[in-house]
């Protein structure tokens, strides 16, 4: 059943252009049905996991000889993140895309993006992971440029150049690994590397992997493209980029390679925690001075990704649970915030915070959804962002990383200040302007924002059962480290 996560979106991507030639307006329907089916299958995959790790060999060639697909706890978590946000963003697109032309191309590219991201999550083969990474990257470059105005093209070009450099660096690292281990199956590589004599080359390839996937994830020394690309894309695509793409193509791939293939150690731990600390603080400092709504959100993504990588880098069970929980929560509230910014832009035509104001009157649902998301990202109880940040901070104190814990708390405060600014300027402040003529957004945009806001509250209130059922299996995969190989290849 595992290839279904790639077959459905690919089939949708090929069907959409044909179907929309035959009958105009069928593109959103096909895209939404396929994304809904993907969401159902990814929720079902929780129960498949009860029978242990699932391995599918493509073409019947058993691993380590053929390409394999692997479904374990971490994969399930990522599949749910990708398909949940993808589905809601597609529902939102139905109304939002009214101002664009040839929208069927948007739905095609979006389906390709989903195929690439699901492929990254489910792949058990290093080169296959690279191919899916490229599919998702090409789709997202094109989607960033979808408006074909000068800003969008400029942002897309920057994103393309830096993303392509990242891909080349990753390919170089895969080449070094291939030369060392003579195999591409991730489980087999981890076995071969553990007995390999050339530790220096492995360390070199590890550095290249951190550089390449760090560029994809927008961690701080490599974050230059992120704000341009994420703020120029159409709003549902921004939600997808910030909520899902940087996590799947960056964080997921990096942690999978580092924890399960190469092996986690103290050097990696200190690199990850420092990258996290720097990303957190630099991201939030860049964000607080922004007046463009979406640009501000994009810089907050850099900062929040810092929390995720910091939690994962601590390497303790609690730290990894916190990091993964924050990854999930961030995908909820950051997508919601980007959808809100899209709703504001849809109704008022601008996203400059100093030109907005008083929107809580005419747009009550957008305004309350964005309030929930803002409080969530700033970490106020009982919303979901609070619990994950709390877990990360406790884990940092337990691991005697006091600097990191203090930075986490301070960054959280600055985040709160920054989102109070958003709330004040966009929604609550009184203004005597044409902005007041704004109307509430159409039905489909509203429903996906409401769904995300309710999820933020629900995950916040029910965080203990949620962590036990979803986050813990994923954390166990990372904590198991090189046992990954035994689970896939058997114990011979």
């Amino acid at each position: 059943m595992l290839p279904i996560f790639i077959i459905i979106p690919l089939a949708a991507a090929f069907l959409i252009p044909i179907a929309s030639k035959i009958r105009k307006g069928s593109a959103p329907l096909i895209a939404n049905i396929s994304a809904g089916a993907l969401l159902i299958f990814s929720l079902l995959s929780i129960s498949w996991l009860k029978q242990g790790v699932q391995v599918y060999s493509v073409g019947g060639w058993r691993p380590p000889f053929g390409i394999c697909m692997v479904l374990d706890g971490f994969t399930v978590l990522m599949l749910i993140v990708v398909n949940l946000i993808g589905f809601l963003a597609l529902i939102y697109s139905v109304n939002y895309l009214k101002k664009y032309t040839s929208t069927y191309l948007y739905y095609t590219l979006f389906s390709l993006l989903l195929a690439g991201l699901n492929g990254i999550a489910i792949s058990g083969d290093l080169f296959n992971l690279f191919v899916f990474l490229e599919i998702s990257s090409i789709a997202s470059y094109a989607l960033v440029a979808f408006g074909v105005e000068s800003e969008e093209l400029e942002a897309s070009f920057k994103y393309l150049v830096l993303g392509n450099v990242a891909d080349l660096i990753i390919l170089f690292a895969i080449g070094i690994i291939l030369g060392n281990a003579s195999t591409l199956n991730m489980a087999d590589i981890s076995r071969a590397l553990s007995v390999s004599p050339s530790k220096d080359l492995i360390l070199f390839s590890l550095g290249l992997f951190i550089m390449g996937f760090g560029l994809k994830a927008g961690l701080v020394p490599f974050h230059a493209w992120l704000a341009d690309a994420h703020s120029s894309a159409p709003a549902p695509m921004s939600a997808m980029l910030s909520g899902v793409v940087i996590k799947t193509a960056g964080i997921y791939a990096l942690t999978r390679v580092v924890f399960n293939v190469i092996g986690f150690n103290l050097t990696v731990s200190s690199i990850f925690t420092w990258l996290g600390i720097i990303s957190m603080s630099v991201g939030v400092l860049l964000a607080i001075g922004q007046w463009d709504f979406k640009r501000l959100l994009a810089y907050h993504s850099v900062s929040q990704i810092g929390y995720v990588i910091f939690g994962l880098g601590l390497g303790t069970p609690l730290g990894i649970i916190g990091g993964l929980f924050h990854l999930f929560n961030h995908s909820l509230f950051k997508s919601l915030l980007f959808l809100n910014s899209g709703a504001v832009e849809y109704s008022t035509g601008t996203r400059q915070l100093d030109k907005l104001g008083g929107l809580s009157g005419p747009m009550p649902i957008t305004s309350s959804a964005s309030l929930i998301a803002s409080l969530s990202i700033a970490g106020l109880p009982p919303l979901c962002g609070f619990w994950s940040k709390l877990i990360i901070i406790i884990a940092a104190f337990q691991a005697h990383n006091t600097i990191g814990a203090v930075v986490c708390i301070l960054v959280s405060m600055v985040t709160l200040a920054s989102f109070l600014k958003v709330q004040k300027y966009a929604f609550t402040r009184k203004i005597n302007d044409a902005v007041l003529a704004a109307k509430e957004v159409p039905f489909f945009m509203m429903i996906s924002m409401v769904a995300l806001a309710l999820l933020c509250i629900a995950v916040g209130l029910l965080f203990v059962p949620f962590i036990n059922s979803m986050i813990k299996p994923a954390a166990d995969v990372l904590l198991g480290g090189l046992d990954y190989a035994t689970k896939i290849l058997g114990a011979n």
Partner: protein, 112 residues
């Protein structure tokens, strides 16, 4: 071993071209050079002196084959590179229509 270092130098030339040149088209050429350096690196991984094509036959003794796996991978990588380059050229043409220039210093609407 020195061949691998030459590959790295070629990769460096590509990245240098990408970083230093102001012209968008030259940047694309730089990325192309870097990409072919990586492809060359992969091919060299599977290369053997006096190796033979890996076709199993009665008269051919197995054991002196070149590794076919990197070659298969590089075919995929070349196709991906073609797609990315095509997309990049398309975007640069659109950028030229908007700004009437290829100079990256003059294409600056996004700041901050």
């Amino acid at each position: 071993m020195s061949l691998y270092f030459l590959c790295f130098i070629l990769f460096g030339i590509g990245i240098y071209c990408l970083l230093v040149k102001k012209n968008l088209v030259k940047k694309i050429v730089g990325l192309g050079i870097a990409e072919y350096a990586v492809n060359l690196f992969f091919i060299l991984l599977g290369y053997k002196n006096n190796g033979e094509a890996p076709i199993l036959d009665k008269n051919i003794i197995a054991g002196n084959f070149v590794d076919p796996l990197p070659q298969a991978l590089i075919l995929t990588s070349i196709v991906i590179g073609l797609g990315v380059t095509a997309l990049m050229v398309g975007i640069v043409i659109r950028l030229y229509e908007k700004y009437r220039t290829f100079d990256i210093d003059k294409i600056r609407k996004l700041k901050g």
